[in-house]
Amino acid sequence: MSAEEKRKKAPVIRTILRGVSLVYEAGQLKALLFHFGWILTGAVVSVSAVFNKNFLNAAADVVLGKGGAVRLALLWLLICSMVEIGERVVNMACARVAANMTWNMDYYISQKLFHKVAGIRMRYFDDREEQKRIRNVKGFSWNIWQVCTSAIQILRSCVVAVTAIAVLAGENWKIAALICLTSMPAVLIGKRQTDEQYYMAQGQSFDEKMQRYMGLVITNRKYVKEMHFYQLYDYMGEKFDKTVVGMMKQKVKFARKYLLAGLASDLVAYAAIAVSLLMISVDIFEGRAGIGSFLLVYSTAQNLQGTLKSLFAALDTIGDKGRYLEDYDAVMAYEEEEVDQGLDEEGGLEITFEHVSFAYPGSDREVLKDVNLTVHDGEKIAIVGENGSGKSTFIALLTGLYAPTKGRILINGRDISQMLGFLRERISCTTQDYFQLHGSIEDNVMLGDSLGPHNDGDVREALRKADLLDVVEGYEKKEKTRLGNLYEDSVDLSGGQWQKLAMARNLYKNRASLMILDEPTAALDPLAESKLYHDFSRLSGDKGVLLISHRLGATRLADRVLVFHEGTVEEDGTHEKLLAADGLYTQMYHAQAQWYVS
């Protein structure tokens, strides 16, 4: 197991303070304070046990027929009842206010994270450690909340333990000491167990995830075609079994180990209770105590043991879950993209790359090397190049998703970092793995410009331009038809149709002055592709275009072609000029064109 997996527990006090400050931040302090009622009533358990003892002593006298005993017994019973019912009423009042806290906190934390994570810089998604944090905080707003509950639990446990010890010591101090001491083995074993469990889970995460994946492969219908034709069920089944068996063995071994340890610690604790009861019995026989003390010791001793155990378990929970709180704070401290308000600058959009080099975070390999070029306003540019030559990365930098490692990018002469809002207002961009929203067709189109003015006509117009309107009109609910498997009434679009939808989304943003499209026709069939390219200049109007494509015939429609090769712009010019240059572009062009020579 690597050091990274042996992650330390969070410091308890700091975690609690941070948890409480978060509750305060969320405006839930009142709810938290009401938990104090519940903390204080912790004392009632032991106190009412004392009244109960007095009641039983009196009751014993009733049995013996002593005079006045009945009145005394009833008096103590009344007191005891009042205290206990009073406790319930206080709890009831507190619970009513405190019930708010859980869900309000959950919502508060979720929306804080939503706003934060939506704005953090892309690079955090490329770093594996940061990615883990982001994933941690996503599923675990609940953990952050648990820290707070555990802190309250600790306070209550302390109150309960102190009063229980006092009550026991009131009977016989030796009993109090004995019970406290003998609770320790259970506490220690419990702590070891949670630690070991955490590390075991970390160590098993590979096997566990592998098991889940193999389970998916053998049961999910997505894999059936391959699994059937290649007859892979035996092979995959074996792999599944192998991970499963090893993991089960380890888990069972672990459970058995702690079963024995747990039973041993229980035995110690019970023996202590027996000894205490024997001691109190002796006291009773010698007349130092009444029979009520027997039950008092019995119930309070058990109560104390349980409380001590839960006290330390709560401490453990805080140390454990505190890790998520640390992750939360780390994520909340991430740098965000500085998106200005998109200053209303008239005029064009000119993008200049000056000696731009770039390597993805955590990697030394330069994906872009010393790129110099200017994208002029309204220019229609085609970008071609081999797989992995840096085309998509170029777009990612140009749109400000990543900052260059060397050199700078200028938007209308100003550094891109100050112009993000302006830039994003003015472009409409469709990446290779474009976003597929599980929602209505209309929403999917509108996403292209969800902040801009909206009217239904524009949506239909965009769909028409992308040659998808006929399909949409065929659906009963037209553009309100929903896509994706979240809905029962949804329809499935084919890959080609989705791609047209992405195109419609791009076209929807009328106010954009630069359209960016990364392989917009990969899933289209030849005629549809051809049609789209033929219509392209009409569709884009006077907007500028950056188009990445492997279809070299279509590139001739561009004013200018950029040929990427191993991270540099190898060739730059018009289609005719590059063909004449007889370089990489010519080579690529002929690779495709040769099949069409008659």
Binding site: I85, F114, A274, N387, S450, L451, Q594, W595
Partner: protein, 619 residues
């Protein structure tokens, strides 16, 4: 992804247990591991007797001390009782802990066995059943059951419920032994408590179910923000506000619902607790009265003190678990239904018995694939292929050309034996598909699917899946990679062919681009040098030069074998000896490139259309 069944749960607020499902589920569980399951059942159910035993023992001890105090000192008998008490406490901890250990291993075991049963089902289900929406939903639900461990949860609830019933009965028994009055009061208490608890538990569940859909939607929109795959467009399209509004709408409904429910449930519980306390106190006054009359011992009074607390705990378990049983059995119903599905007698099975001389070995037949008047549709109402007839001869290369949805890939699936035609006949080397073991096709056919699966396993496995017996044959794997144009990519990987692809479980797994995956998928078809090669869009994600290399590679392999080629790049059809043009599921043209060009039909139009992009300079 789907919790759809939960939406239906408790919709009309009535619990209707399906005993067939309950019986089926229990027998499944016991069959999976008889010994541990029985032991677990015994331990957890008998554990239900402990509270009553405990009450009796405390009562006896108190009476004994009382007697001793009256009679003078005698610590011997108290020692015996104390020993008995420790023993009972210890037994209680045994009963508390041992089922936990068994649960820990059984929970996994049940889940795993259910998953394997699912796997067995998927292995035997004819592929065409999966296109049926009804079956698809069943599979989705059954898969969710298997992964989520529904069976384990169900069995656990059943045992806990039995234990709760036993606790209730034994407590009533102890009350009866203590005082007939007490059992009367306890009974009346139960009459009120059981329906009340059921009502609370139902209301609690129902409220979760009410917002299940909102929950799902909120989760979906929330997850988009955290997804690295969506991160780019979230930023580029300024989607934050849009997604936030979507998320908030559902998240607020969920939150408000939860707030109301929690308040309601907490209050209902608190009121119940307070009422129980009041009853307890009243009963105690009554106890003192009985004590005075001499019809109750002091020990009996301790039973009066604690029996109601124990009863209410048991009632809560009773109500909670019966709801759980209902819920889980609603879910398990899907699994039962799925596993009970039987299919029409599959081809092959009865024929294999004939054991006729293996015609597959007869490789001299000159026609490899023959399709006679085949029609086919995935769904009854929509036919994809209409009356298609064609032949593929030995050593011939055939190109299938047509638009998206013309039926090219479907035809391939039929030729691979994954589906049976609705009408018409298919022959492989002269043998009817219906009469042969289609599994044997794998030995002779190498295939690249258009939508190939990207297995997140080692490179080695991804390639060897074309012929899994070669998984440890490094030389063969490298040879296939070489032919598929992937050897360059793989050589750059840290562990070469032993590198894991993807990060599902292997955090050091590499990510592969679409083009790299495609090369691997093509390599898969080259493994073991099959005599027949079927390639469906083997270069769609490649750049022009890689695409050309891929096709030249294919061209070189083609000389040695029979092959079928599909590509959107119409130009590549020229590699073929013969071109088949499909349109709307019909075979409309057939011939060599030259013949079809002359014919000036659909093929010619498609070809000229693409050529148009290039012909200015070249043509």
């Amino acid at each position: 992804m789907s919790f759809k069944s939960n939406d239906e749960f408790l919709k009309d607020n009535r619990i209707q247990l399906d005993f067939a499902v309950i019986r089926w589920s229990i027998s499944q569980a016991f069959r999976m591991d008889m010994r541990t399951s029985v032991l677990w059942a015994v331990m957890s159910v008998l554990g239900g007797l402990l509270p009553a035993m405990f009450l009796s023992i405390t009562k006896e001890i108190v009476d004994c001390i009382q007697a001793n105090v009256q009679a003078g000192l005698n610590t011997d008998s108290i020692l015996i009782f104390l020993a008995a008490m420790v023993a009972v406490l210890f037994v209680q901890s045994l009963f508390g802990r041992i089922p936990d250990v068994m649960w820990c291993s059984l929970r996994d075991k049940y889940a795993i066995c259910m998953q394997k049963k699912m796997g067995e089902f998927m292995r035997r289900v004819p592929v065409r059943y999966l296109d049926d929406a009804e079956t698809a939903k069943l599979i989705e639900m059954a898969e969710w059951n298997a992964e989520g461990g529904s069976l384990g949860k169900f069995i656990c609830s059943v045992f806990d419920w039995c234990a709760a019933v036993l606790t209730l009965l034994s407590l009533l028994f102890v009350s009866w032994r203590t005082s007939p009055w007490l059992v009367f009061i306890a009974f009346a208490f139960l009459l009120v408590m059981v329906p009340y608890s059921m009502k609370i538990a139902k209301g609690d569940w129902k409220s979760w179910v009410d917002v299940a859909k909102n929950n799902r939607m909120a989760d979906y929109h929330y997850a988009r923000i955290f997804s690295e795959g969506d991160a780019k467009e979230v930023r580029l399209l300024n989607m934050k506000d849009f997604l936030f509004q979507k998320w908030r709408r559902d998240a607020e409904v969920v939150r408000d619902n939860n707030l109301v429910r929690d308040k309601r449930v907490t209050m209902a519980n608190e009121i119940m607790e307070t009422a129980i306390k009041i009853v307890e106190c009243l009963v105690m006054f009554f106890g003192v009265f009985l004590l005075k009359r001499g019809s109750l011992t002091l020990g009996g009074l301790t039973v009066f003190v604690s029996v109601f607390g124990q009863l209410s705990g048991a009632v809560r378990n009773f109500a909670g678990n019966i709801l759980q049983i209902y819920r889980q059995s609603c879910e398990l119903k899907f699994s039962k239904q799925l596993f009970d599905t039987s299919f029409e007698t599959e081809k092959g099975t009865q024929v294999r018995d004939k054991d006729a001389p293996d015609k597959m070995a007869d490789g001299k037949k000159s026609v490899v694939f023959e399709v006679r008047h085949v029609s086919f549709g995935y769904h009854e109402d929509k036919e994809i292929l209409h009356d298609v007839s064609l032949q593929v001869r030995r050593g011939e290369t055939v190109a299938l050309v047509g638009e998206n949805g013309a039926g090219k890939s479907t035809l391939i699936k039929l030729l691979l034996g994954l589906y049976e035609p609705d009408s018409g006949e298919l022959y492989f080397c002269g043998e009817n598909y219906r009469d042969m073991d289609t599994e044997k096709l794998l030995e002779r056919i190498g295939v690249t699917f258009q939508d190939f699966v990207r297995f997140e396993l080692m490179v080695r496995e991804n390639v060897a899946f074309g012929d899994i017996s070669r998984v440890h044959d490094d030389k063969e794997i490298w040879r296939a990679l070489e032919k598929g144009g992937a050897s360059g990519v793989v050589k750059r990987l840290p562990q070469e062919i032993d590198t894991y692809i993807g990060r599902w479980y292997e955090k050091d797994g590499v990510r592969m681009s679409g083009g790299e995956w495609q090369r691997l998928a093509v390599s898969r078809s080259y493994i073991s040098d099959k005599e027949i090669l079927i390639m469906d869009e083997p270069a769609a994600a490649l750049d022009p030069i890689a695409e050309m290399e891929q096709f030249y590679g294919i061209k070189n392999s083609l000389t040695a074998c029979t092959s079928i080629l599909i590509s959107h790049r119409i130009g590549f059809a020229r590699l073929a000896d013969r071109i088949l043009v499909l349109q709307d599921g019909r075979l409309i043209e057939e011939g060599t490139h030259e013949e079809l060009m002359e014919k000036q039909g659909v093929y010619c139009e498609m070809f000229m259309n693409q050529a148009g992009w290039y012909d200015r300079e070249v043509g």
